[in-house]
């Protein structure tokens, strides 16, 4: 599969703080790549490096096959919203877009109304961008990023500040751009459920390194069945499950999650034999969120 972007052994420090330490990442063409990681994991720094806002201390960046000085030219195919959306607050949405068209050297500004309609800002008229709601600002930022008709769209926390309706709109927009226009999208987000609805690939960042890179199909097959149980004594339950070789997460003195293929009857009998009663049981599928927590070393006992 052809790659839009790849980084090898990327390093970046701010003073003494090492933010990226030997990061390797590959974003395939046509994918929606979800970047997942806790605060300070290095997501935004990686995005800043891709966008040329900062320079790496070491390692290699490749964008559309271009490296070094040629990266600048390759960035003409990129659109991005990094952290907060960037625009002039004292200008209207249309004027901001016209300005961005001029920056891009596109004299034909016929696409301005089309872009405003695409992000749902067609009725903002002369209203200054400063007085937009958070969601409208976010959408204007995305419209600015789309002004150059990019092949590669980078969105840093695009759902920030959006209401539920806005989140759905942005999700549909990303899917539309990806499916209909073939735009490759790199999205960083803390809203994992939302990310799980769109991403075709995932990269999990921790401590400035990519700890796992996986496509959505592989992730789906690796997500295990989970039984949420309430028992009389989780300590006795743990001993019994260790004997069976089943993975589990103790949530409290009486609650736990049990992973793997086991029948409720077998589980009940095993626990009963260990002197622990099974009070309630409900079946749940493991989510991206639990996969992520597990990956970061949550208190699961495998």
């Amino acid at each position: 599969m052809e790659n839009v972007f790849l980084a090898r052994n990327l390093t970046k420090s701010y003073g003494r703080a090492k933010v990226l330490s030997g990061l390797d990442i590959t974003v395939p063409k046509g994918s929606i790549y979800g970047l997942v990681g806790r605060n300070g994991a290095g997501k935004t720094t990686l995005i800043r490096l891709i966008c040329g806002l900062q320079l790496p201390d070491g390692g290699e960046l490749e964008l559309y096959g271009q490296t070094g000085r040629d990266l600048t030219r390759a960035r003409r195919r990129v659109g991005a919203v990094v952290e907060s959306p960037a625009f002039y607050g004292d200008m209207s949405a249309a004027d901001n877009l016209k300005h961005q068209f001029l920056v891009l050297g596109l004299p034909d500004q016929d696409r301005v109304p089309e872009l405003l309609k695409l992000v749902g800002l067609e009725n903002t008229g002369k209203k200054r961008a400063r007085s937009f709601s958070l969601g409208m600002k976010q959408r204007l930022g995305i419209a600015m990023a789309l002004a150059g008709d990019p092949d590669f769209l980078i969105l840093d926390e695009p759902a920030n500040g959006l209401d539920p309706e806005g989140i759905v709109e942005i999700r549909e927009l990303i899917l539309k751009l990806n499916r209909e226009n073939g735009v490759t999208v790199l999205v960083s987000s803390h809203i994992l459920d939302e990310l799980a609805r769109i991403a075709t690939h995932y990269g999990f960042l921790e401590g400035g390194r990519l700890i796992r890179e996986i496509d959505a199909k592989s992730l789906e097959s690796s997500l295990r069945r989970r039984l949420h149980v309430t028992v009389t004594d989780t300590a006795k339950m743990a001993a019994a499950l260790d004997g069976l070789g089943l993975a589990y997460t103790v949530l409290s003195d009486r609650e736990a999650d049990v992973y793997g293929d086991t029948s409720v009857t077998d589980l009940t009998l095993t626990l009963r034999a260990a002197g622990c009663d099974l009070l309630t049981v409900s079946e749940k599928n493991e989510t991206l969120e639990s996969y992520y927590i597990d990956l970061l070393g949550g208190e699961r006992h495998d």
Binding site: L53, V78, V82, S84, A86, F87, L102, V103
Partner: protein, 287 residues
């Protein structure tokens, strides 16, 4: 680069702050000179006032002092606008889409120069018009007046290059505005102090009273005098290079500026600060 400049001009056209400052300066200059003229009319007929003005050049001194304010105001405006580029993140939009850092910096610089020059013209155009309609001419003559105006615009361009450099170094909008205004004032005051030292005469003219009760002039050495030599040459060069010091010389009627020499110093100052700015901006981390 052309595209960036075109975009910058589009932005300037839509900048409320720019138009407000421009309009305020034009109105203030026209109002101040008109008020000076009409106040003078209380002391005599227009013809007499005109003759006095042509001899003393009081109104044109007022015009050049107002232009100095334009330079100071442009420092605040440029710092504010450049700060907005950083803080609103508009600068990022240029780099993300593959514009070279050098071109982004140079386009900002050119735009700042245009802004400063426009503010200077907002003073000189209405001011000269009022002067023409009232006094009828410049005391120093049109040729020298135009040379001085060109000199003031060159100073504003030198300041513009400094403002752009500071804008690059200080990404925080309010901090950039404070430092820019503070440094501008420091350069003006520093220039004044330096010019004062360089203008010192070697001797004081003191007088001693003899036994006969006569006053005899007795020159005494001036401790503030800087003798001719390498130190004075260096200080004179620094004084000429400092746009704040130049501003002081253009506005003090006792100091006779040499516009061509000062303008060449402005060019040197402009080149030095711009090269430093480009080199810093090429490696600067942006957020």
């Amino acid at each position: 680069m052309t595209e960036l400049l075109r975009a910058g001009l589009y932005r300037l056209r839509h900048s409320t702050a720019f138009w407000l400052v421009l309009l305020a300066l034009a109105l203030f200059t026209a109002g101040r000179l008109s008020w000076t003229w009409f106040s003078s009319l209380r002391f005599g007929p227009a013809e007499t006032v005109r003759e006095v003005e042509l001899e003393n050049g009081y109104m044109e001194d007022t015009l050049f002092t107002t232009a100095a304010w334009a330079v100071l105001l442009s420092s605040a405006l440029c710092a504010w606008e450049l700060g907005a580029e950083y803080q609103d993140g508009a600068l990022r939009n240029k780099l993300i889409v593959g514009r070279k850092r050098r071109n982004v910096y140079l386009a900002s610089l050119l735009l700042t120069v245009l802004t400063c020059a426009a503010l200077c013209l907002a003073v000189f155009l209405p001011g000269s018009l009022v002067l023409l309609l009232t006094v009828g001419d410049f005391t120093m003559g049109w040729e020298r007046a135009l040379l001085r105006i060109a000199g003031m615009i060159a100073i504003s361009a030198a300041f513009a290059s400094l403002f752009t450099l500071l804008g690059v170094l200080i990404p925080h909008r309010a901090a950039a505005a404070i430092v820019t205004i503070g440094l501008t004032l420091a350069l003006v005051l520093g220039g004044e102090v330096l010019a004062d030292r360089l203008d010192q005469k070697p001797f004081f003219n003191t007088y001693e009273v003899t036994a006969d009760g006569e006053l005899v002039p007795t020159p005494r050495p001036n401790p503030r005098y800087i003798p001719e030599g390498p130190l004075k040459d260096v200080l004179t060069f620094l004084s000429d290079l400092n746009p704040g010091g130049q501003l002081d010389r253009y506005t003090r009627d006792s100091a006779a500026p040499d516009p061509p020499r000062l303008m060449s110093c402005d060019v040197l100052f402009f080149v030095l600060t711009s090269v430093a700015g480009v080199l810093i901006f090429r490696r600067k981390d942006l957020k």
